[in-house]
Amino acid sequence: MDITRLTAEEIREKIEKKEVSALEVTRAHLDRIREIDGDLNAFITITEEEALEAAKRVDQKVKNGEKLGKLAGIPVGVKDNIVTKAIRTTAGSKMLENFIPPYDATVIKRIKEEDGIILGKTNLDEFAGSYSTESSYFGPTKNPIDKERVPGGSSGGSTAAVRAHEVALALGSDTGGSNRQPASYCGIVGIKPSYGLVSRYGLIPLSNSLDVVGTFGRNVKDATLLLDVIAGSDINDPSAMEVERVNYLESLQADIKGMRIALPGEYMNMPMDSRVKEKVLEAARLFEKLGAKVEEVSLPHAKYAWATYYLIVVSEISSAMAKYGGVGYGYRTEDYETLDELYIKSRTEGLGEEIKRSIMAGTYILSSQEGKKYYEKAFRVRALIKEDFDRVFETYDVILSPTTPNLPFKLGESVKNPTEMYGSGIFNIPANVAGLCAISVPCGYADGLPVGLQIMGDRFKEINILKAAYAFEAELSLGGEHSGI
């Protein structure tokens, strides 16, 4: 038996039944990481010692007959913009290369409480600010399906690690598609919860009104299991809603007869790879076969989503990045005479191009009269986009679209054409702008490359997208391309 081939659900079951020990599971995955990650580069930091200790504690519990947590013995990867106590957390930046947080993010605490085994911190675009994981100070991650291609981003380290069986589950974060786009590119399941469902305490912010922590698994059930663990209100995050702890896993069922599914005309008419479009239309037909009702709808403000998102995201990035100045922690330039020089050089040398581009744009927006006008307009349009969705969700349970308009691109291509890369998040950002939930689930392969289906749901209606994805996954046969890594 190759342990790394097991699902999270199977791992927990086998540990409980004493068919395998948590230590064996952990070692098998650490071996796998040692074997392939030198090439793949999904991890920035591997926490072998802590993981083995945690595994031993689980085995002790098994031995003592104690109640096991929901994640007992399951190897988990954590995107490196989620802080971990006493374990360095870099956000993929030179700025935080040696930053060791004194506290755990709320989501990390919950994983530990449920006996999950954190194997390490995964690679990402610097501060989660792009779509390919190439802007990481720690080098790009390769796509396990085709090593000449990017895994997507910014959670590319997590999605690659899950797809390559280095871990069974992983955490990511999603500001404008960073959970869904790389899940699509790596052919796995990625959930972007509603804004406020999961605590952001300990998530290093990129854009505070858009960021959410999300989960990855190789199937819907696994990704849902991790979501169940991390979701729910938190006194440390006042913007997290008063949502009780959830148990979506129990309500998952493959019967979706009568589900009302919307297919937005504006999305389907946007420029996209024809192979992607074909797969999504096939998916829509499959839903009909499952007894759902699929209809075309209109989201009239969809075309403004990108501009709205951009104005908000760069403004918030410029503010969120203001704390990195080389004073209390983080990178400090070697060579400075004055205080101004300390700030300018530390930031110039410690932050990467992509983030600095956003800081420049955001600073302009917040400091100029013109910029402020755009900024305020963006907030008004944001309300209109929300209204579009509210209207659709009055009648429909979920909205279907491609996760990305394209297939995974080659490493280095985005540097030549950044706008095309930004375009890969075009179907993702509306969910962030409107605070909705969404999931990306594999819907087929085109020329050996995975295509993701995005299912969006109303705020805090996670159960609808999870049910739809679960039923779809159960019905779809993905074939050899899907498992052969």
Binding site: P101, A105, Y201, G202, P205, S239, S318, S319, G325, G328
Partner: protein
């Protein structure tokens, strides 16, 4: 030519909440450097602020005491700038929707009562403190980072240094009354910046506004305003103008010195802090806070005049600080004669406090001790003059007045037989004075009485001595 000075104040006041504004760290002055800190007030990556309801409540209290309107919805904004004592690269503050607005505070100006407008009061977090060492290093102590503040901005209604000083005295008094701050300028819990310019009332020509910083006392505020108004006026007289700039008060040389380069305008890139959800302030909550506000200085002064029949001046002095007014009322409760208590407090007690630069709270004795002292006097146990000596002892040692009188043997002699003997002896020794008095030299009587007091080391009851001396002279 006539000139009018126009002054507006910006006052930062630290609130006495138990914990900081966005975390559970203790809000306490002092402590070893960087010991009252956590990921939130240090602004570590990923940490999120949580608005302390108590800070909001204290801000509302201050607003109500200063006759302000209270906003029905509060949002927090980020004010961006770079400085090492600022942990996040932005300060959480309020930009366009302050918690309180449109209030006023009254002062007694030379022309009578005058309302000084309060444009706004907003809540914000304090920064850490930079410490520049002799070796040239800069160290930062973040214990103060995240301590809640209110910033009070007055209308430009103040027209002199003295008015500014009076306003600040009143403000401090009011905020201490409602117990939202201890307003200690020396500990930095009250800080004041001044905006000043001068207008030539004949030509209408105005000087550019100067901002004054580093004002460490109310007196410094008044003196600095006077210095600046002269500077502005002399420039106007020369046909020149000031430049819009920030100047630092040098309290050694008593001059202002240009601080920042001219022409730089601050751009704080204000943006909503989305980490802190907006708070709706319900009318019922404001009503509750209003109902629980303690009696404010002005109301208390009126009541003292009414209830204790005190002159306006006395009532004003006694209510100038909450502690003093409480000390007064507690004493009166125990010994009835309000005017007598007022005289003692306004005289010997306040003089001593002012001389030593201490406050009522620093006294070694309480109202019950002052009341006991007055009772000794009123019961003719000691004379008024001995009473003053006893009070001095009380200041020094904090001992009970009864014990002091006993220890020192200061109990008044009222026994007529005993005094008769002493009087007789004194008259024997001072026959010339007796003759002088009989010859119409009234002063001689005073001398004789003085000799009797001296012989008893001040303990004789002066009224009785007076009577006995007159009787004895009659008999001669």
């Amino acid at each position: 030519m006539a000139y009018k000075t126009i002054v507006g104040l910006e006052i930062h006041v630290e609130l006495l909440t138990k914990t900081k504004m966005f975390c559970h760290c203790k809000n306490e002055f002092g402590g070893d450097a960087n010991t009252h800190c956590c990921p939130i007030c240090l602004g570590l990556p990923g940490a999120l602020p949580k608005l302390n309801k108590e800070a909001l409540e204290y801000g509302i209290k201050a607003g109500l005491a200063l006759n302000c309107q209270i906003a029905d919805r509060v949002k927090m904004d980020r004010k961006h700038y770079f400085y090492p004592d600022l942990t996040k690269g932005y300060q959480i503050s309020q930009d366009d929707n302050p918690l309180c607005s449109k209030g006023y505070l009254e002062i007694e100006s030379e022309e009578g009562p005058k309302k000084i407008g309060i444009q706004r009061i907003h809540i914000e977090e304090d920064t850490g403190k930079s410490i520049h060492t002799e070796a040239g290093d800069t160290l930062v102590d973040y214990n103060r980072a995240g301590v809640p503040l209110i910033e009070i901005v007055t209308a430009p209604d103040i027209n002199s240094g003295e008015e500014a000083r009076m306003f600040l005295e009143n403000l401090k008094n009011t905020l201490k009354y409602i117990e939202v701050s201890d307003c200690k300028m020396e500990e930095g819990s009250l800080r004041c910046d001044v905006n000043i310019n001068v207008v030539d009332t004949e030509t209408g020509k105005r000087t550019n506004i100067t901002e004054l910083k580093n004002l460490n006392s109310f007196k410094a505020v008044a003196t600095a305003i006077e210095y600046e108004e002269n500077r502005h006026i002399s420039l106007l007289k020369e046909g020149k103008n000031t430049i819009k700039e920030t100047r630092r008060w040098n309290d050694v040389e008593n001059v202002t010195v240009a601080m920042r380069g001219k022409g730089t305008t601050d751009n704080y890139r204000y943006a909503v802090d989305v980490d802190i959800p907006p708070v709706t302030i319900k009318e019922a909550w404001i009503d509750e806070i209003r109902a629980n506000l303690p009696e404010l200085p002005h109301a208390k002064k009126e009541r003292f005049m009414r209830e204790y029949d005190l002159p306006e001046y006395d009532a004003g002095v006694l209510t100038q600080s909450k502690e003093l007014s409480i000390f007064f009322e507690e004493t009166v409760k125990l010994c009835d004669d309000a005017k007598q208590v007022s005289n003692w407090i306004m005289g010997d007690v306040l003089r001593r406090l002012n001389d030593e630069g201490i406050e009522v709270g620093d006294l070694k004795f309480g109202p019950e001790d002052l009341a006991a002292l007055l009772k000794l006097i009123n019961d003719d146990k000691i004379s008024n003059n001995i009473g003053k000596k006893v009070l001095r002892e009380m200041f020094e040692t904090g001992k009970k007045p009864e014990d002091i009188v006993k220890e020192k043997g200061w109990i008044q002699i009222s026994d007529e037989d005993e005094l008769k003997q002493i009087v007789g002896k004194v008259l024997e020794e001072n026959q010339q004075s007796v003759i002088d008095y009989k010859n119409g030299k009234d002063r001689a009587l005073g001398f004789i009485i003085g000799q009797v007091m001296k012989a008893t080391r001040g303990k004789a009851n002066p009224q009785i001595v007076n009577k006995l001396v007159l009787e004895a002279i009659e008999e001669k």
